[in-house]
């Protein structure tokens, strides 16, 4: 039987200016899911529902086998959550926060925390009000990582970090990959980080799930061609997401790439000059343009 880190079945929620309907999203245990979407796409709402902080109007939500929001207390013992809008108590030190977390979670690993402190270049006795944005984000992550939660939920963990801090954070996240019982859900509009670490890509836009697929086949299904066209070229090609023409050259983007696709293009009168893979960022933009 497949174990799931979380499952959302047919989840709907309505706000005055936002609605999410019939969302189905689940993550097998041991995998990393990247949640991609523009601001306001519903990433944070999804995450809040998963943390039991917002009750969906309908649908079932389970995390680590517990029903949410009813059994969120048990679930949250094994979930670690950090978001970029999370703040610590300004008047207290990081050490105070570590002691506080340790008093709640017996599993908090002080040795690992000390290790992270060094690697993240943080000072335990410094008051939170004196530290920079990047250090604060790393401090929040330290508090979460040192308990080794079974499910890590990170809302924009790398937003606003400088490249060095981002590298440090990614490096620690990668460490989680070693354990096949630990799962990660992270949202980001930095598609780069998601492209690197995720096994699954979930694409949200305006409260709808545009795609949910394993990253390798997802990236592979998209391709961009530069073609030469002639008078016999047809107007459209099967599976093309966009066709841009300029003089005798056309750029075609497809979301249904297979080795036969080049032949299909040829038949439609487009002779392929170049073929490119697309980065997640390019796919992201193309996908949103298509769906709107």
């Amino acid at each position: 039987m497949q174990n799931y880190a979380f499952e959302m079945n047919d989840v709907s929620i309505r706000y005055p200016h936002f609605k999410m309907e019939g969302l189905n999203l689940s993550l097998p245990q041991g995998q990393v899911m990247g949640l991609v979407g523009v601001n306001g796409a519903g990433k944070s709402t999804t995450i809040r529902i998963l943390m039991g902080l917002v009750k969906a109007d309908s649908g079932q939500v389970k995390a680590l086998g517990y029903n949410l929001p009813e059994h969120q207390v048990q679930a949250k013992y094994d979930i670690g959550f950090a978001s970029d809008d999370m703040r610590l108590y300004k008047s207290q030190t990081l050490q105070w926060h570590m002691d506080f977390i340790k008093s709640i979670y017996p599993k908090f690993d002080s040795a690992y925390a000390a290790d992270l402190l060094k690697r993240f270049d943080l000072i335990a006795d410094q008051q939170i009000k004196g530290i920079s944005h990047g250090q604060r984000v790393k401090a929040c992550l330290l508090l979460v990582l040192a308990r080794r939660p079974k499910l890590l939920i990170l809302d924009e963990p790398t937003t606003g970090l400088d490249p060095v801090a981002r590298e440090e954070v990614i490096c620690e996240l990668a460490d989680i990959l070693l354990d096949d019982e630990r799962s990660v859900l992270f949202s980001s509009h930095n598609t780069h980080d998601i492209e690197k670490l995720s096994d699954q890509i979930a694409f949200l836009d305006r409260g709808k799930l545009l795609a949910l697929q394993d990253k390798e086949s997802y990236l592979e299904s998209w391709a961009r061609f530069r073609c030469q066209i002639n008078n016999t070229s047809s107007e459209s090609v099967l599976g093309a997401v966009s066709i841009k023409r300029n003089g005798q050259i056309a750029e075609i983007v497809t979301a249904q790439y297979s080795p036969h696709y080049v032949a299909q293009l040829q038949q439609a009168g487009f002779s392929v000059l170049e073929q490119h893979r697309m980065s997640l960022e390019e796919i992201f933009v193309a996908n949103i343009k298509r769906s709107r």
Partner: protein, 137 residues
């Protein structure tokens, strides 16, 4: 520790292919000898900061190409196949030749022109090395 793999985000090749190529070349050079156990998929993923699914795919491709052997429950090993070296080099040669031909096509060269170019290149190399006696095995 990255197990000696140097992966790049700016490389045009997909990540799994970079892993396949770099491991293949390690085996070719002999840095990774026959029967050497490979790092587990999760170990390699964590150390290179690449997702598990990507490494999984790379290992599958490597297995298909005969570079590594995977045994259920035991992990993966460098293949002990003795012809492997020859086979791999042959594969690499074919790959590079295919790339060259593609480039030629982009330059709008006809098939005959491409064959001519190859013939010319062969001729030049033999005349250059005629005195030295070509050293390639």
């Amino acid at each position: 520790m990255t197990f000696g793999l140097f992966l790049s985000n700016t490389d045009k090749k997909p990540m799994y292919l970079q892993i396949v190529e770099q491991i293949t070349s390690k085996v070719l050079i002999g840095d990774w000898p026959a029967d050497m156990p490979l790092p587990s998929i999760r170990e390699l993923a964590a150390s290179t900061q690449v997702s598990v699914i990507t490494v999984k795919r790379a290992y599958l491709e490597l297995e298909r190409a005969g570079v590594i052997v995977t045994q259920a429950g035991k992990g993966s090993y460098v293949s002990a196949n003795t012809d492997l070296n020859q086979q791999l080099r042959r594969q690499e040669f074919e790959q590079q030749l295919a790339d060259t031909i593609n480039l030629g096509k982009q330059l709008q060269l006809s098939d005959e022109q491409i064959i001519d170019c190859v013939a010319q290149q062969l001729l030049m190399q033999t005349s250059l090395k005629s005195g030295v006696k070509a050293g390639e095995q």
